[in-house]
């Protein structure tokens, strides 16, 4: 299925200061789009708008050609958003955290899949350890395990490489490209330079 997220004349004003204005953006299936720009230029805000969390912006959003407000349910059913904060409960084990996400995304309760997802992200052996006892990088990996766990077409990732070691970064880069090749699309902000790829597109902000 071909997907298309479209932004027209997007602008965001925060207390009389324009973060960005008149932004046109097209994101299609099979693309990795990297938003870049200096600190405070509104990358996170843009991702929050594009993922449908913020409503006070100017301009219009379209999902597969339909206005976002009418296509919201379909959009959310195809979206996987990973924010600045990983959204991981420190009091729960990685397995329990993923179980909640599986239910939240409307997937079938399947422990086999959760174990596989944790293994593929390199957390085999830590499934039952309270997440609070894991390192920051491992906690981030629990969140990243959702990429394998829940099959969603559109990935919106805010600084996903934070606290991840070099091997993990290489794996994640490969995963992003593979996802785009398989027909998904990835929208990502990062200060880390992604390796050149025909699928990669850079959008400068600010």
């Amino acid at each position: 299925m071909s997907l298309h997220l479209q932004a027209r004349g997007l602008g965001c004003e925060r207390d009389d200061r324009w973060l960005f204005k008149g932004l046109d953006l097209d994101i299609h299936s099979g693309e990795v789009v990297r938003i870049e720009g200096p600190n405070g230029c509104g990358k996170t805000t843009l991702l929050k708008i594009l993922s449908g969390q913020l409503s006070d912006y100017q301009g219009a959003l379209f999902w597969n050609g339909t206005v976002m407000s009418k296509a919201r349910d379909h959009f959310l059913a195809n979206l996987l958003y990973l924010g600045h904060a990983p959204g991981i409960k420190l009091g729960l084990s990685p397995l329990e955290n993923l179980a909640w996400y599986q239910a939240l995304s409307g997937e079938k309760d399947d422990e086999e899949q959760r174990l596989n997802a944790l293994e593929s992200i390199g957390l085999a052996g830590f499934e039952e350890v309270p997440t609070g006892q894991l390192s920051a990088g491992q906690q981030r990996r629990v969140a990243l395990a959702r990429l394998t766990l829940t099959p969603r077409a559109l990935w919106v990732l805010d600084e996903p490489f934070t606290a991840i070691d070099r091997n993990g970064i290489a794996d994640l880069e490969r995963q992003l490209v593979a996802h785009a090749k398989a027909g998904g699309c990835v929208l990502v902000t990062t200060h880390h330079d992604l390796p050149a790829s025909p699928l990669l597109r850079q959008v400068a902000l600010g």
Partner: protein, 255 residues
């Protein structure tokens, strides 16, 4: 209808329109308040039971009415702001809140003072006074919540939600406080409930009520205009208004 709503919602249009209407409301407010005060203070007959202390009714009741009406007006503005994203509605709600709190305070103060000759005490947990006190807390809550947000837009929307929740609660609070009061009734009669009032008594009350409402509309228009200027200061029409001396005096006088 839609065109009208959006015209009304345009700060620029509202700024011009309110300039035209404002003087009339000020004039009406002054006229009604002066006539009502003279009539109520000097010409209305004294009450056979309460004597001249009953003249406090002419400030207590209008203030209490206004206090409740302003909260409802804020809730309606909040709804308009949330549903149609009309910013003028929120600006009006912003400036209404402090005046509403002042009116609630006036109602409380005049009620407390009235209590001395009537019940022999400064404070009685009378149903009306208790409801007013709770209303004052609601006003303070809305004002505090709005100012607690660093982003004005979030503050506006949070205050709108709280006002709407409050306005649904006000009748429930009023009903339960009335019920609670009848259960524990200690005073022989409430301040303002009386079987019949001669025309000479209630006519000044109506005039004072109208005067208070006109005053409220006038001051809301005036302060909303300031709020528009403050929030739209960077817009071009405001800049033109400010830098063109001819235009700014013209809008002040002619409109």
């Amino acid at each position: 209808m839609w065109a009208f709503i959006h015209k009304l919602g345009s700060p620029r249009w509202f700024y011009g329109m309110s300039a035209k209407m404002q003087p009339w409301f000020w004039a009406a407010a002054v006229l009604l308040l002066v006539v009502g005060s003279l009539w109520g203070l000097a010409f209305a007959p004294a009450d056979y039971q309460q004597g001249n202390s009953f003249r406090i009714i002419y400030v207590h009741v209008p203030a209490a009415f206004l206090a409740q009406s302003i909260f409802i007006a804020m809730a309606v503005s909040g709804l308009v702001f949330m549903v149609w994203k009309i910013k003028v509605a929120d600006m009006a709600a912003t400036v209404m809140a402090p005046f509403g709190a002042v009116m609630t305070f006036v109602a409380l103060f005049s009620g407390a003072v009235w209590g001395v000759p009537t019940w022999g005490t400064w404070w009685m947990w009378d149903a009306r006074l208790t409801s007013m006190l709770i209303l004052l807390f609601l006003y303070i809550g809305v004002i505090a919540l709005r100012s607690a947000f660093t982003r004005r837009d979030s503050g506006s929307r949070a205050a709108s939600v709280l006002t709407m929740v409050g306005v649904i609660n006000i009748p429930i609070i009023k009903y339960s406080v009335d019920w609670w009061y009848t259960l524990h009734q200690t005073a022989s009669f409430t301040l303002t409930s009386r079987p019949t009032m001669p025309t000479q008594m209630w006519l000044p009350l109506v005039i004072m009520l109208l005067g208070f409402y006109c005053f409220f509309i006038a001051i809301t228009l005036m302060r909303t205009r300031s709020e528009i200027l403050r929030r739209e200061a960077s817009k071009r029409w405001v800049q033109e208004l400010l830098t063109d001396p001819m235009l700014s005096t013209a809008t002040k006088k002619a409109r």
